[in-house]
Amino acid sequence: MSQFQQKVELICFEALTEDIVRLTFNAPKIAAMARPGQFVMVQTSPGKDPLLRRPFSIHQVIRDGHLQILFKVLGKGTELLAQVRVGEQLSLLGPLGNGFTPGSPETACLVGGGMGIAPLLFLATRFLSKSSAAEVSPKMPMVILGARNRAELEPLVDDFRKVGVDVLAATDDGSFGHHGLVTDVLTKSNLPPGFGIYCCGPHPMMAAIARLCQQESRACQVSVETVMACGMGACLGCAVPLKAGGYAHVCSDGPIFEAEKLLWSL
């Protein structure tokens, strides 16, 4: 067994801003198997509406089998999730998807925008961790994070700093770090050629970074979002077009893809 459907208890609820929430679940089985870049499907209601589970990146796995997700309230499902109380149980399905391949290359620049920051904390700690040395590099990653404003970004930047990673920040309104896009910061940072990019964020940001990396022949892994019904390869609903033609399935072939394999619209 490498995947589980589990009722898990919410053990910590944090509202980082008015509409950004971090939930910590006691989910030992899923946490034990989880790798950075994988995701869980969360049932947002015991009823039939909303019917489908919602996908969320695994934000962090912490000692004692605790698993975190970080999300923004957008619609019905996330609204319901933001109302779950500590002690209540929720059904989680996971870990799902392929996850990042953090070994290639070993020197890394993590680029996250908005809620795309979520999976990068887990990835960053894996880069740092010595215990799982077989799989990951011990080298310190470079991290560039962007969001709309200070309120949204600062608490997340703090989390990276807490685990010992320095962060270059960018905000749309300039209230924290660079005033502008993460892509500006990335361009200005003159990243050495050996560094690979691990990227998650809004589609336009990832498309821009994919283009950049292609120009520089830089390895680039992106985490892709689509609507999902099952999250486990059964419905074929989560198609994304491939450069070579045809489609890949985000939940089973991804959500992490080499940027150059995908057909980027925009």
């Binding site: 067994m1 019917l51 609507v227 019904a229 059964a234 489609y247």
Partner: protein
């Protein structure tokens, strides 16, 4: 002489679809269970009544552009576009695993013409592990201007006869609900030799995004499934079960043992669990266990006592 005691020991859940014996009446619905393996961590695959696989065509199909799915009230729309690996890779890559499970595999087939259905049935004939062919007739007939086979009794009968002519295993015809009178199509395929009918496939629906003023599916229209359609499915199963003599397999919004048994009361010999697999990948196990518990608790000799047992006075 001691059926009650036997029942409490182990509920008799066996049912038959024509010559096909099933250990219990619970199957997976085509397109909602991948090729089975995807669920091995979540469901006791060997405990299923049967596995119905994603629809297979002669040649591989890439499917529709995204978005392919959208959630609706208590349901979902899909326009997957019948993406599949094609029959050859299905036989070589998927069947060995499925055959080893030891439960009947029902292969759902689809085509653009009667000839394609015939060839598909021919390719599948004699492959070990295949318990039955399920013919998806909700596909457009390209030779008839794209009208779905399932909406025309004559075309439905023609497909049935063609498949039946090349199959040793039972042929189940899967009916479309998008018709004025589903019993007419059911009787037509029965006469053409179908060993059973399964119903319902999805209702045709649509969703619109006000913000972008675009359809939510790239394909514009899609198939509605899930709890929302259960009342329509139950009604059609009830009507068809009274109109034909062959077994009926009930499909549509089934998520619990109660749902499944309601379809059996309406006249279904077996059921298929579809969209519920996405929400709860262990759904089939729960449905089977729930039926067993009910049969035991009600001291029934067999689950077959439920079939068509609705009391309509």
């Amino acid at each position: 002489m001691e059926p009650l005691i036997m029942a409490t020991e182990k509920a008799d859940l066996r049912v038959s679809i024509g010559s096909l014996a099933l250990q219990n009446p619970v199957m997976t619905a085509s397109g909602t269970f991948g090729y089975g393996r995807e669920f091995e961590d979540f469901v006791k695959l060997r405990g299923l009544g049967a596995v119905v696989v994603k629809g297979i065509s002669l040649a591989p199909r890439a499917g529709n552009p995204p978005p392919r799915i959208v959630e609706t009230a208590c349901g979902m729309l899909n326009a997957i576009g019948l993406e599949n690996t094609g029959v050859d890779r299905f036989i070589s890559d998927k069947m060995p695993y499925l055959a080893a499970l030891g439960v009947p595999v029902l292969v759902n087939i689809l085509g653009d013409s009667v000839e394609e259905y015939r060839q598909l049935a021919g390719r599948l004939a004699g492959i070990p592990g295949i318990g039955a062919i399920e013919v998806n007739i909700s596909c457009p007939n390209v030779k008839k201007g794209g009208v779905a086979f399932g909406t025309d009794p004559q075309m439905a009968a023609a497909v049935t006869a063609a498949v039946k002519g090349c199959s040793q295993v039972p042929v189940i015809v899967k009916l479309s609900p998008n018709v004025t009178d589903i019993t007419v199509v059911a009787r037509a395929v029965e006469e053409a030799g179908a060993d059973a009918v399964s119903l319902i496939n999805t209702l045709i629906g649509m969703a619109i995004d006000l913000r972008s003023r675009r359809p939510r599916l790239a394909n514009v229209i899609g198939g509605l499934s899930g709890p929302a359609i259960k009342p329509v499915a139950l009604r059609m199963v009830y009507q068809v079960a009274r109109a034909v003599a062959i077994p009926v397999i009930g499909i549509g919004g089934i998520a619990t043992a109660e749902d499944a048994m309601e379809f059996m009361l309406a006249g279904a010999t077996a059921v298929q669990v579809g969209t519920a697999n996405f929400v709860n990948p262990g759904a089939c196990d729960e449905v089977i266990a729930g039926i067993a518990a009910y049969v035991t608790e009600q001291k029934m000799g067999s689950v077959r006592e439920l079939i068509g047992a609705l009391r309509v006075c």
